[in-house]
Every structure is written in structure tokens, then in C-alpha cells.
Symmetry: C2
Subunit: 364 residues, 2 copies
Amino acid sequence: MTSTLKYTLNVDLGDRSYPIYIGQGLLFDEQYFAPHIAGKQVMIVTNDVVAPLYLNACRASLSRFSIQEVILPDGEKYKTLDVMNRIFDALLQKRFDRRATLVALGGGVIGDITGFAAACYQRGVPFIQVPTTLLSQVDSSVGGKTGVNHPLGKNMIGAFYQPQCVIADTSTLATLHDRELSAGIAEIIKYGLICDPEFFVWLEKNVSLLMKRDPQALAYAIERSCRNKAEVVASDERETGIRATLNLGHTFGHAIETGMGYGVWLHGEAVGAGMMMAARMSQHLGWLDEQSVERLGSLLHAAKLPLVAPSAMDVEQFLSLMQVDKKVQDGALRLVLLKGIGHAVITADYDQATLREVIESCRG
Amino acid sequence: MTSTLKYTLNVDLGDRSYPIYIGQGLLFDEQYFAPHIAGKQVMIVTNDVVAPLYLNACRASLSRFSIQEVILPDGEKYKTLDVMNRIFDALLQKRFDRRATLVALGGGVIGDITGFAAACYQRGVPFIQVPTTLLSQVDSSVGGKTGVNHPLGKNMIGAFYQPQCVIADTSTLATLHDRELSAGIAEIIKYGLICDPEFFVWLEKNVSLLMKRDPQALAYAIERSCRNKAEVVASDERETGIRATLNLGHTFGHAIETGMGYGVWLHGEAVGAGMMMAARMSQHLGWLDEQSVERLGSLLHAAKLPLVAPSAMDVEQFLSLMQVDKKVQDGALRLVLLKGIGHAVITADYDQATLREVIESCRG
């Protein structure tokens, strides 16, 4: 496959800065890997769904290095400390040293677990992200959040750790399941909603092209999403302030993922319903008008995303799970809410009764 | 107990700088804790040997906070990812948020595992070191190396993560087993050997006072050891160069610890024999004279430390285990060797035959 680079975006984090390459066939081209690898040893970490599709291509692009691989089972429920230990087993069995590079080939789970393993192996080795899902291309591969889940909470164990580069090959989106395409679009919509109202309007016009997997539209949406995220991350790498707005829909969404069992709802699906809940909550507080909520609903619907929370979960379960959130401070849960399309705020300024009412009204 | 602060030492790492307090009874005095705790929640992590001795005192000194505790089993063999997960279980069950502080109350194992848990919980929460063994007071609580062991290698999984402060209470040394006292003196001798020849001479004169647990001599030796380590760490936090000299005796020592099974030899005992092996190796290479090797031998002997490696391990096992070392680069093992007392170097400039010969000759 010949490669076509569409965009190069720089994530500006001082001496931890790195480029994101976006385009067709990049994974098949060694020139995007080699300049970012200092040593000789490379460990590719992937899963049993992605391996048959792209492992050979990735191996070919890394053929000048000494390559080993670890193939993990696919799915969010395997994003655990135990499964991460298999990466350490492989690294130690193959005598990988501190100059080794890890390559994460797969979706968000592979990226998160591999990045965290890289952060911890011998107290830190370099790694490269090769996200193969739309969601991981627009979200988890930007910003250095790595980690694993705990039975009591999602992403509760991890590190801030930046990759050497991100290689977002849009040709991999052709093999994505429809549900996963939609899940990726949920995170794309999120950027419009948080801080980019123009992009929200663009999405209202072009969501059907994304659903048809139009390469130009996808590359554009990926670049604009990554740019939005990169700007927020550059100004608040350790999430002491504004970065938390990127969590719009995630407090509700994580509760759905944990409550239903990891992997039953895709992350992006849970975030879709979660954004709708955040919008309704904002409306109840008088911060967002009905028309804006409806525009969001229409867009999520066009992307075949859920608009309501699972009926299997009751209000008490929601509230209990939402208390396990990294935005809790001294017992108070802060929520990311909306004061308009393109204007997210982080706030503890709401009453518990309204929250209960909104959760109740948003169950399917 | 009334507290007497003997020394305050600052570890200079920019915005990650922190103080080390050294003195009698400090653990019984809230003034050393409170200024370093920002939130309300405090989780004390300790083990089943230290808890009966000092947990109540530590709780009393933290009484103005909301305190919980985790009591882990004692010993190097429990420094694993699995055991670390018990800390995460407790933190999540008790709904500890990102502003919580962890307090490591115990020896090096508790400090390493708690520091690593703090580095990873919600991608990083603050922690305080309260080292209760001589070894942890002079070594593991300075410099921010945290981590756990893997069956295939010691300290292979971890993070560089700095505490808010270190509270080294010399009154806890009264309850130390003799073997552990000696193990701590091994690391103290190491600083003289690496970079402080005057201190080496002081130790030759005063080792008997240390063995008698003279409080003045212990406080002096702790302060001087920490100061030596703090200077090295401040100039090379991430161990890209000179910091590796602090590993004198550790490549041989880690092989002994892993080969004999974690906990059979104490870390300091293995480092004692390891320093002797490094000295013999340096002598074989013509870098160190016989008299210096004998001075080291006499000092280790006075501290009741082993001078030879376990006969149960053969040369092949040594060489194989030594290859799993963080100082290996592209297959070549670099060793920390001596060009004189007080002058350590890191080098790959030696031949394999000499290494084999030295290991063979140093077995007990």
C-alpha cells in the first residue's frame, strides 16, 4: 500500500512534545516509525482481532529492528493489571532493556495498557501509538493518559505518559465494525460540544459522510478533534483545571460501563448517552436551551448512538458509581456541564435532587 | 515521646523538591506530617511487623485527618503487582479521591510499593515516606525510585516518583533485628565507597558505634548517606548517567536476591557481598589495589555482613540473572566498578572471562 500523509499535528508539551501523523496507509510505511525509535528492540503489543489484520504490515514497517510481539485478548474487560503483567512477562523473557520501544497496535484498550506498561517497565521506556479505531485516533492516543481499570472503577490505575509519536492510519477504519465507528463519532461530537461550535455545525452537515466512511471527511474530523484535544492538553497536561472538560459525558458514561460490565456498552456509546444526560442536566439547571439539547439528540441519532441510559441501572447504582470519579474532591462530585454548544464548564454547583431527577428521566 | 530534630536535608529537584527530617521520635509528632498534606484523606500503608510497633503512634500524629490503613504481609516476596493491588482495593473501597495522601510506614518494601501505588492511583496522588529501617532511611526513601519485583527481575516495574517529605525517625532503629541493622550499614558503606572517601575512613573508626546503635553516630551516618545520595539524585534524577553509580554492588546483589528467592538474603546483605565482588573485579582489572579490597572486607566483616556469594548459585546462574539489569544496553551489561575507595565508575570495559573468574572465586 502506498501511503498518503494528510496532516501532521504537533502536541506541544516542551521536551515531551510529539507529532501525530494522520493519513492513508501510514502503518505500512517505515518512515513514520524509524525516526522515533532510538534502540534496537521493539515489542509490538496488539490483540487477537487486530493481529490478523495489521500485525504483518506493522512487522514489515519495523523490519530493521529486533521485533517481538505480545497478542492480548480483545476487549475492555482485559484492560487489567493482570493482563498488563503479560507484557512484562514477554519483555523480561525476551530480555528487553531500557532502550527498547513498545508499539501499541490497536484501539484504546491496547493504547492505554501498552502506554502504562511503557511508563512502568524499568521505570519508563519509549512507546509509539498506532491507533486502529476511530475512537482511539481522536481520543486516547492524544494526551498521554494511560492506565488500566479496577473492578471498582474505570481508569483508576495509570500514569500520564507521552508517546514518541502517534501514527493514525485512516485505512484501518475500513475494517471497523459499525458500532465502533459510531462510538468514535461520539468522541468527535464531544469536541464540538465542549469548545468548537463551528465544528459542531460542520458535523451536523457531514455526519452522514462520516457514517459512510468517506476518507476525506474522516481525516478532517480526526485532525480537528486531535487539534482541539492537543490544545487543551498542552495548556493543562496534568488535568488540574480545563483538561477536565474533556470528560464531558464521561462521569455518566463510566458509570454505565462499570455498571453494565466492562465491554457490554462500548466506551463511545456510553459517552454518547452520557453527553445527552449532561445536556439534560444543564437544561434542568437553566443553562442550556431545549433547542440545543435537541440538536445534540439529532446528531447522536444520526450517528446511531444511544440517547438514553440502560434501564437495567437504577438511580442509586448510578449515583454510587459516579462517586468513584477522578473529579471527586473531598467527597463532592464535580460534573462537566454545558452553558451552550461549544461551552463546557466544570462545576459542583448543582443540587442532588436535580441530578436524581435527570438520571431517572434519562433511563431507557 | 518528645521529638528531637537533628537534621533537615533538602533534596533539590525543582518543583519536586522535598525535605528529609532526621531525628528521634519524629514519627510521634504531627508537626512533621501536617504541613505536607493538602487534602483530608490519608491512607497509611504498613506491614504486619511494623503495625503493632508504630501504627498507633502514626495514627495519633495524623489524627486531624480522615485516616484509613492497609496492613500488608512483611517481606520482599510480597513486593508484587498483586499485593500492590490490595492498596488500590482499599483506596477505592474507601472512596479515596485524587487529593488523598498515602503514608508509607515501614522499610524499603513498604516504601517502594506504596510510592508506586501513589504514582499510579488516579494517575498520581501525593505520598509521605516514614522509613522505619536503617536501610530505607539511607537508601530507598531518597530519590524517588518506586516499584515492585517481577519473578524474572527485581524492581523491573515501577516509576520515578518523589514523596512530599521523608520522616526518618531514628527511635525506630531500636526495634530492628540485628541482621537488618547490618543490612542498613551495607548501604551506608556503599556511599563511602562510591564518592566519599572521608566518610569511609569515618566508618572504619565508628562502625562499632553503629553496631551498638549509638543514636548520635546513627543520625550522623544517616544524614551523610542521604546527603551523598541527594546530591547524586539532584544531578541525575532519571538515571541517565552518574546516578547509576549508586548501583555499586547491586547487579551482583540483585542476582543473589532473585537467585536465592526474594527475602532469603536481605537486600543489604546481598549488596554487601555484591560490593565485595565488584571490588574483586576491579582488582582483577588492575583498577583497585589489594589493600583497598582488604579494607572493604574488614569493614563489611565488622558490620557482620557476608563477604562471599552463596555457594548454592553457580556462575551460569549468576551471569543469566545479571543480564536482567536496568543497566544493560543493547545486550551489553555495564557494571559499576571501583578505581579507588571513593571513586566508582560505570563501565562495559571488561572481558567476560574475568567476570566468570571473579564470580567463581567469590562463591562461599
